[in-house]
Amino acid sequence: MNLIREIWQSIVRRDPLSTDKGKSELVFLNVWLHIHPAKVKKENLKFRHTFYLGFITFFLFLILLTTGIALMVYYRPYPPQAYQDMKDLQYVVFMGPFLRNMHRWAAHGMVICVFLHMCRVFYTGSYKKPRQFNWVIGVLLLLLTLGLSFTGYLLPWDQLAYWAITVGTNIGSYAPLVGGQVRELLLGGHSVGEGALLRFYVLHVAVLPSLMILLTIVHFWRVRKDGGLSRPVWKLKGKKEELVTIGAPAQTAALQAAAASKDKTYGLMEVVSGKPIFETVTPEEEEDTVFSYPYAFVREAVVLMATVTTIMTISLFLNAPLEELANPAKTPNPAKAPWYFLGLQELVSHSAFLGGVVAPALMVLLLLAIPYLDRNPSRNLADRKLILWLFTIFVVANLALIVVGTFFRGPGWALVPPWVHVVGGTE
């Protein structure tokens, strides 16, 4: 049985989890977990502060990766076969409908959650110094999420897909100077056809996921380096500022130099001089600090399971739509973009240039600029009334536009209240 212990210990090289050292080593000796700090403040774990939206979004992404790869086994990105493969997934592939539903509803969920996460980060002021650039990365991740959802939307090659992408790429072509060129590059031609399907497929399964993963890595890394997960600032005791100092601060004393021990192996983090980048913990705060294992991990696990089971439940009962085979000769009336672009389409229906180019460009630029435009260092809600109002108006306006585009626009884009007759859902 020594052999078994030997095998086990060759794989698991930490101390037992009953020891504090073991609990720490579980984190920093493990490649998958070492992005976590070994210890977190209790405040970092507050559900009602972050709602774990970042985690939910990430878990939804993991669901999308796995279900997406599974779907790739049965899908060919060429025009006549693509639709037939969707039918095969619906009728003959074992758990085909379930997998496809998981993928679709996780995608919609991820768009919603990434948006909610952004709102949460904004409302808790968690984009302020030193986290400004991480906010920018976050906005880029939001755009990637929308891009992934958009490229995936075309793949079923039904009427819904074909015309949504026709409308979507035409909105994009309004961008000055490069709009037409970018549209041609995306489509591999002048209109949506086999070239577009193949290029969107490459973007959807290879290019955009890679960018997403790369930026997610940066995003998580920066969260750590910026001081860990967001904490409710008004709950912090005594401290006026919780800004992080990078590098050695001027006022504190130099660390004591201790003689190196001969029978100890030092990890890199024990040898570097100067104050560590993350916040140090004062003795009072020590009580508020817990080991990541099990406190943080159990919460993450619960959120993971809750996300997965929610998507699974929805997927058991709600089917992703599949309309007729794409027909370039027949424009459905109305032809609607995917729901998250319907606000944009509503704007564009009033003015192509203002609504399709100026408004979205302004929105994205303003979003990116928020951490740099906001000169108020306070995270308290009471001190930030103006910007909170502005942002809330922005959010509500977007939602309203989407609601109008979804429920109040019928054939010919005429205003038709939903209780009359809504033609065409927007899944």
Binding site: Q84, Y91, P294, V298, A306, T309, E324
Partner: protein
Amino acid sequence: MERRLQQLFFALSLFALVLILAAGWQANTPSWKTYQRSFLQIEAQGEPNAVTKAAVLATPPEIHQVLLSGLQRVDRCTTCHLGVEDPTMKNAPEPFRYHAGLGPHVPSRFGCTICHGGQGLATDKEGAHGNVAFWPNPLLSRDYIRASCGRCHKEGEVPGVPELNEGRHLFETQGCRGCHKLDGVGGSIGPDLTGEGANRRSPDWLERHFLAPNAVSTGSAMPNFHFTKEQARDLTYYMLSLTNEEMGSYFSSVRLIPSPEYGRQLFVEKDCLACHAVGGAGAKTAPDLLGVTKRHSIEWLDEQLVNPELVYPGSSMPEYDLEANARKALVAYMATATPEDVQLVLSRKTRTMTPEDVAIEAGKQDFARFGCVGCHGTELQGGVANPNAQGGEVPSLLHVSDDYTKDEVIAIIRNGRVPPMDNAAGPAPPLYMPAWKHVLSDEDINRIADYLWSKQEKNKDAW
């Protein structure tokens, strides 16, 4: 709190297990498995002993699929319709009943949807029968299934489906091509009908349209041809067969069914009786054909039709450019030809035709085939409404010689003509005379002019 969270985690994990099991169960219990089990019960009943019964009942369920690359489809109907090729299932309840009368059109070679319509990719009842949203091709009702024969058998008669031939005949003689293109030939006033059977799968719409075009297509310029219900049905059959689909070479090779009836049609068309007789009835120049299939092999007869000189050097029998199935049809007719039938053919021949008669007859044929009758009428009476044209309708051609010389008429046929408008500010009249010089040869146009002139009525009250 931590304990609660751990419990929650385990509860959710359990829930996840339940959900994945539910998903698996959902995936593992499609309705077709139930049908297959019922079918196996029926099959097992016919087994002689318990051992074979058990073996049958133990057959694992699986989706049955026919891959038809030549027809560009995949049909899974036989997943539930398990008895279609099994004669012992004659009296089984649906969906297991044997499909009698298929001839060579067995599901394993043809699938099912090529004739019946529906959604072959589906594996549940409603989806497969095509009665679902977003599938534009539902099952054809019983009355119209035979129209699908015309999707492959595009020429000649189809035994048992006279409606197709009737429909085609009506199309060619009632002038449809005057406004509608079919396979590239025809007018541009109405929609191209080449793929009409692929776009329009509703027999009900088609029939109502033929009976009253404006009731179904509001504002259409198509006149009401006052078809009978049978004629409307015949035309509907023909329309449903125009699917313009690409088919593998095997399927396109059977465009023509080599039936004795078609052979007879060719026998009359090619005027074999000009030289041959059957049992004494006919001409004496060439050998009598009665019982010829007993004297010679089929291959010999076929070769005779291809290359008469090879078989009888010095023979004056012309080389007819007939394709393989047409020759098969002729030979099939030869096997059944009787002197009485031939007498019938002979009696229909009227006076011998002079070259002028031939020209006029050819002109008359062209006048019908290229759709002129659609506007100018089968009796040249005109009368089809043409709003805002002078006179308000397509003119009759019975008095055209009063106003034009023959050369002027030939020029009009060649170059087309736009009718003068009644009210110059109003909308353009929908109907006009197209230019035919690129479609018809000069010879054809002259013959049409000859035909028109042969029909001129001398106006008693001519000024």
